[in-house]
């Protein structure tokens, strides 16, 4: 799903309407966490060949940040969810 994205709020929209940030990294560390934990969060990426979770912003539509489960080889997309819902699951 790299041509069209099914925004959970707006429906099927073209890639042109989105701003992509890249991989969902490790969760943002707690303020007091070690520099190395922060380094990991800010710089290191899984970058898998296969299923990948990533941030897309529907900047030309509802302006919500979404998390896509997308395959980096086939470009097929599984779930697309509003990113705010991940935090409650401790995943952001």
């Amino acid at each position: 799903m790299s041509s069209l994205v099914k925004c959970p709020h707006c429906g099927l929209r073209p890639r042109e309407e989105f701003t992509i940030r890249g991989e969902v990294p490790t969760p943002r560390p707690a303020a007091g966490a070690d520099e190395s934990v922060w380094f990991d969060h800010v710089y290191l990426r899984d970058n898998p060949r296969g299923q990948h979770r990533e941030y897309w912003h529907h900047s030309g539509g509802c302006r919500r940040w979404l998390v896509l489960d997308r395959n980096t080889v086939t470009h097929e997309t599984g779930d697309v969810v509003d990113a705010s819902t991940l935090k409650s699951e401790g995943r952001a």
Partner: protein, 416 residues
């Protein structure tokens, strides 16, 4: 067999029946002193210089596909050394110097063509940035010229000077920049390395890396297990994938970049031109096709293809620069996988394992680096210390905050 006009003539008389293979097609040996993973430009150049300059000859290059099937065979072939930062510029200039004598060195015509590279600017701010860049180049003795609008017009009269949304104000030119026939670079290095005894093993994918403590002992491949003294990674877009085999996480994301070629045309554009008001760069190949490209797709990808939105963006930027492209037809598009690093500059360093060496993070600019990357990586492999022009490409620069961020966009791979 040495290539020359004479050998060409000689073989013509024998109806071209006596040409020998450009390289052997050996089966892997049980062990090599150095195994290089990745038969792209950088891997092959590394093998070439290792064997030629550093005398290390028991070397294998393992390539999962056919020789040159990665980015070396699918890039827009632009070479230049117009870098800004002190950590980058001397390295790319070293590369440029190597290009300048390469064909005679490896006896293969790679069509190194110093037709000039012009980066257009459209605002005072861009001009200022180019002034800074051009002066950094000049400081290092690299040729650079800041052209004003009239000077650009003289060289490139067909650009849009009259109805442009972002008028052209001038350009930064590097006359020594240009293009090189991409495939020939891979073939030339392969043939040269092969002649020095290096085994180039195609259709041989590394599937696992064997280790004993902090020592690599060898690799598992689709053509069996192979042992090694040192292991060197030069797999470009596959960096993260291969690094994961030794639990290495990298400050790298893989992204797809498309390139394009038009139908063959009689000479149309003489130099390489890049458009400062949109992502677009173009040159004309010796065969007559306009070879051009734009920005990466934006999403992580290991598929060597892109999507229509990017195709359109590239075409729009191209025509904004050269209105006469309107009726030029695009023949083919393809994609490659960029190893986009988090500061946009390469990494060439030792790793947490004592005999594993890493070379990657070249983003979409590693073709021009091919000879120097090979040379410096060979230096690192052979001597254990970085070459003097490649000391800034350290792995720990991210953790320590010594970034090499030419664009200044920070830790977001797809912005570099």
């Amino acid at each position: 067999m040495r290539y020359s006009a004479l050998s060409l003539l000689g073989n013509t008389f024998s109806k071209n029946k006596n040409w020998k293979p450009a390289w052997r097609n050996p089966d892997p040996k049980p062990r090599y002193d150095v195994i290089i993973i990745g038969g792209g430009g950088h891997g092959l150049a590394t093998a070439y210089y290792l064997s030629k300059v550093f005398g290390v000859r028991n070397v294998a290059v393992l390539e999962k596909g056919y020789l040159g099937s990665g980015n070396i065979g699918r890039n827009t072939t632009i070479i230049r050394s117009n870098y800004l930062l002190e950590g980058n510029n001397p390295f790319y200039e070293f590369s440029m110097k190597l290009w300048e004598g390469l064909e005679q060195d490896f006896n293969f015509n790679a069509m190194v063509s110093q037709r000039g590279v012009i980066n257009l600017y459209h605002s005072d701010a861009q001009r200022d940035a180019y002034t800074r860049r051009g002066n950094a180049m000049r400081l290092h003795g690299v040729d650079a010229d800041l052209l004003d609008r009239d000077q650009v017009r003289e060289k490139l009269p067909f650009l849009d000077y009259d109805n442009a949304r972002f008028p052209i104000m001038g350009g930064l030119m590097q006359a020594r920049g240009g293009t090189v026939r991409h495939d020939a670079v891979a073939w030339g290095f392969a043939r040269g390395a092969d002649q020095n005894g290096v085994d180039i093993i195609q259709n041989c994918e590394v599937t696992a890396i064997d280790r004993d403590g902090d020592q690599i002992t060898g690799v598992q491949t689709t053509r069996g297990a192979i042992k090694c003294g040192k292991l060197a990674m030069a797999v470009a877009g596959s960096s993260s994938h291969v690094a994961r085999m030794v639990d290495m996480h990298l400050p790298i994301e893989s992204h797809a970049l498309q390139a394009f070629v038009s139908e063959g045309l009689k000479p149309f554009i003489d130099t390489v031109v890049t458009f400062g008001a949109g992502h677009f760069y173009v040159s004309q190949s010796d065969k007559g096709g306009l070879v051009f490209g734009g920005d990466i797709e934006g999403y992580n990808s290991y598929a060597q293809r892109g999507n229509l939105a990017c195709v359109e963006h590239v075409a729009e930027a191209g025509m904004a620069m050269i209105p006469a492209l309107s009726r030029v037809r695009i023949l083919r598009s393809w994609g490659g996988i960029m190893d986009m690093s988090m500061d946009g500059s390469p990494i060439m360093d030792r790793t947490h394992l004592s005999n594993l060496y890493f070379n990657g993070g070249w983003c979409y600019g590693g073709f021009k680096a091919t000879p120097a990357s090979g040379y410096c990586f060979a230096h690192l492999l052979a001597t254990g210390t970085p070459h003097e022009t490649a000391t800034a490409f350290r792995m720990d620069r991210f953790a320590r905050g010594y970034l090499l961020d030419e664009k200044g966009v920070g830790a977001q791979a797809n912005l570099h």
